[in-house]
Amino acid sequence: MATPENNVQVDNEVQVVAFKLRDEEYGFNILNVKEIKGLTDITRVPFASDFIKGVINLRGSVLPVIDLKKRLGLQNTPYTDDTRIVIVRSDDIEVGMIVDAVTEVITLDTAHIDAAKVVDNETNRFITGIGKEDDRLIIMLNLDAIIGLQEE
């Protein structure tokens, strides 16, 4: 009976890369996160959607970067030494997301993730749920919606 038990355990947990936007903590499923890198030169792209900050060079390939705070309707804050670009991947699309700071990789019990009903506004569709760990709240993000592959 060891194997099923293991499976259950894995099914019940999700590893999340947690990061900060202003004072709130957000998270992506670690399976979607490719790497985290420091801020580099971002080239502005004319005519692109306003939440696309520009493009960066990631080891020779050109990658779009999303200003996550702008995308989520949060107020802008200046870059700091902690500012990072989280490179995420969904299907065959890779993009970078600018975040204020990456906090940690955290394992959440799926039972502790509530469906997102707390916030009721237009950014709701970007959120898949809210995870609780001790007294921290981690807002889980819907990557496909943020990238803009869904609806719109």
């Binding site: 502005r44 004319p46 493009v55 990631l58 050109v62």
Partner: protein, 689 residues
């Protein structure tokens, strides 16, 4: 021997040699007198024979062996190149190709019945080469040695020979033939040379000494030998060396006389040059030894010249890997630079500057490696066109241009079939029969061209013909007949759009269906294939003047020349292909026409585009510069001047796509990574105008 691990190599190389064989035969057909082509063909056939025999494919080896026999006779001019022979040789190559492909698919080698071809080949060898029967038997290379053209002596050689003869020495031309079964040919030749050194001086050898050492000869080689020993002694000494099959010795003095007599007959200048050149080699003439040394390398260099470029096959995945690693390297280099700057380590910064140059070069080289010239695809078409023209009884002159245009490997692999379709169409439906052409007042032979070139941010490949063109009305009628469009729709289409109907699925205008084309699947397959490559195909045609099929392919990974310009702090790249010139003007040179800014350049009114405004570049404070840089670009006949803040320079850039997320942006067609790791956007000039 386990030959599996060599299979890939065998297949690849066989294909390559078969391709060269094809090319060679085509060349031979046009220029039957060219011996160097024959030699190339022979070498290719020989290599295939050797490889297939090693791999245990006896059928291929036998067929190539038979082919070689015919080629050998042609090479020795005992057989004349005729259309019949070339056709037979082409058939051989086709059969060999089929066999190799069958092996590649894991099948048996004997997929084609070669008995007929083999019979034909041996008939060629026996029948037409009857007077030279001895040479036809491949097992007797020694027998042909005396008949082989004697060594050609240049003036220096002659000088040395004359000196030697003057001092009472003998100059002998020795042909040494090793036994067919000899394995260590280089060792045997070395022993022969060694033995000869004991008896006198070797003046020159053919092939040169280096090639002898590397076994770059068949079973015999020639030596010019200066000695005072009797020829019979020399022969005895050499025959004593094992595996020496035959030694033929002739007197060079007599050979020279014969050669001179022959040379004098057609033209006198050759021997006359000899005394004129005498002063220079005179000091060397006293001693034959240095002269021989000088002669040998010269001959060697001459022989190496026609060798093709060398290449290594690499898995594309490895290249991608390499590219990524280089990228990592660049990033870490940048980090080191920052450390150097923050800690003010002058030495580190200096070293890093060096490293910077190396990594930049490395990056460009790796990127270029992925690019392949379209010639790789084009080179199979001359043969196809030739065969097809014969089959259709048409006279076709195919010209190929721009085969050096480079495209990404993935595109190259896919573009072959669509191009083949288009070429077949041009031949079958486009170009008329010679008689019809004459009746129309055109030359009998139709001109078909395959042209590749860069055009803006694209590579354009065109298939043109000067045939009968496409009749728009016929297309309209057909489309209505087939129920693809209604009569009203057909009437509303202009001619150009009507012709484009041929790209619709299930369209075929050929009156009769041939096996060449006209099954009605061709054009829409072509279109869909090209569209999956992100390209576009279009057609321009004029009845009785011909058609042009134009394939436009995006440069997914192509390298282009571009001009880097700066607008405020932002860097943009403008493809050089669309740039006319760059000029420097003053603010007052800009005039307005109907509220639009223009300049007058060489009498032409050119509208002005202020890049900063169009791209909404955030303006920074600063004085308006009175000097204005204008990049004059063109799109077809139209021109425009793009106003920028600064010209950075011309650079080769690698085009990257912006990805799905940013697809379909106007004005920006792609991006490139600059040497310092920053990204610059590439402007789509056509969208700006």
């Amino acid at each position: 021997m386990d030959t599996n691990q060599y299979m890939e190599m065998f297949l690849e190389e066989s294909r390559e040699h078969l391709q060269s064989l094809n090319d060679g035969l085509l060349g031979l057909e046009n220029d039957p007198e060219d011996l160097s082509i024959l030699n190339d063909i022979f070498r290719n056939a020989h290599t295939i024979k050797g490889m297939s025999a090693t791999m245990g494919y006896t059928k291929i080896a036998e067929l190539t062996h038979d082919t070689e026999n015919v080629l050998d006779l042609l090479r020795k001019e005992q057989l004349k190149v005729s259309e019949d022979i070339v056709d037979t040789l082409f058939k051989c190559v086709d059969s060999l190709e089929q066999m190799v492909e069958s092996i590649g698919e894991g099948g048996p080698e004997d997929v084609v019945d070669v008995t007929e071809i083999a019979a034909k080949l041996s008939a060629l060898v026996k029948g037409e080469a009857a007077p030279a029967a001895a040479a036809a038997a491949p097992a007797a290379p020694a027998a042909e040695a005396p008949a082989a053209p004697s060594i050609e002596y240049d003036d220096t050689d002659k000088d040395v020979i004359n000196q030697a003869l003057g001092s009472g020495m003998r100059v002998l031309h020795i042909n040494v033939a090793l036994t067919e079964s000899c394995v260590l040919k280089s060792a045997r030749s070395y022993m022969v040379m060694n033995a000869l050194d004991q008896l006198g001086d070797v003046m020159k050898s053919i092939p040169p000494a280096e090639d002898l050492e590397q076994e770059k000869f068949e079973h015999s080689f020639d030596v010019v030998f200066v000695t005072d020993a009797e020829p019979s002694t020399v022969e005895e000494t050499l025959m004593a060396i094992s595996e020496v099959d035959k030694v033929v010795i002739t007197d060079v003095a007599e050979e020279l006389k014969a050669q001179e007599a022959a040379a004098k007959a057609p033209a006198a200048p050759a021997p006359a040059a000899a005394p004129a050149a005498a002063p220079a080699p005179a000091p060397a003439a006293a001693k034959p030894a240095p002269a021989k040394k000088a002669a040998a390398p010269a001959k060697g260099a001459e022989k190496k010249a026609p060798k093709g470029s060398q290449s290594v096959r690499v898995d594309i995945e490895k290249l991608d890997n390499l590219l990524n690693l280089v990228g990592e390297l660049v990033i870490n280099k940048v980090r080191l630079e920052q450390i150097g700057i923050t800690h003010r380590l002058a030495e580190l910064t200096e070293t890093l500057e060096q490293m910077d140059r190396v990594t930049t070069d490395l990056q460009t080289v790796v990127m270029k490696v992925r690019m392949v010239p379209v010639g790789q695809v084009f080179n199979r078409f001359p043969r196809m066109v030739r065969d097809l023209a014969k089959e259709l009884n048409k006279e076709i002159n195919l010209t190929i241009e721009g085969e050096e245009t480079e495209l990404d490997r993935t595109v190259i692999d896919e573009i072959g079939d669509p191009l083949m379709h288009l070429l077949r169409n041009s031949l079958d439906h486009g170009v008329e029969h010679p008689d019809d052409r004459e009746a129309k007042g055109k030359p009998r032979s139709g001109e078909v061209a395959l042209i590749a070139r860069h055009e803006g941010n694209n590579v354009v490949i065109m298939v043109t013909d000067d045939g009968k063109g496409i009749n728009a009305d016929a297309i309209r009628r057909k489309a209505v007949e087939k129920g693809m469009i209604s009569q009203e729709e057909a009437d509303s289409l202009n001619d150009a759009d009507a012709v484009r109907l041929i790209f619709l699925p299930g369209f075929s205008t050929a009156e009769t269906i041939t096996d060449v084309s006209g099954r009605g699947v061709g054009m829409d397959v072509v279109r869909s294939k090209i569209e999956t490559l992100g390209g576009h195909v279009d057609v321009e045609t004029k009845v009785d003047e011909g058609s042009v099929f134009k394939i436009k392919l995006p440069l997914t990974l192509a390298i282009i020349q571009a001009l880097l310009v700066k607008v405020q702090e932002e860097m943009y790249a403008i493809p050089l292909g669309s740039i006319d010139s760059t000029i420097n003007i003053k603010q007052e040179d800009i005039k307005t026409v109907q509220n639009k800014e223009v300049i007058v350049l060489r009498g032409q009114i050119i509208p002005i585009i202020r890049l900063g405004n169009i791209l909404n570049v955030p303006t920074q404070e600063g004085e308006e510069n009175d000097d204005i840089f204008v990049v004059v670009v063109h799109l077809g006949e139209r021109k425009a001047g793009i106003v920028v803040d600064n010209l950075i320079g011309q650079q080769e850039i690698v085009i990257k796509t912006l990805g799905k997320l940013l697809a379909g942006l106007k004005v920006i067609s792609g991006a490139t990574v600059l040497g310092d790791g920053r990204v610059a956007l590439i402007l789509d000039v056509s969208a700006l105008m």
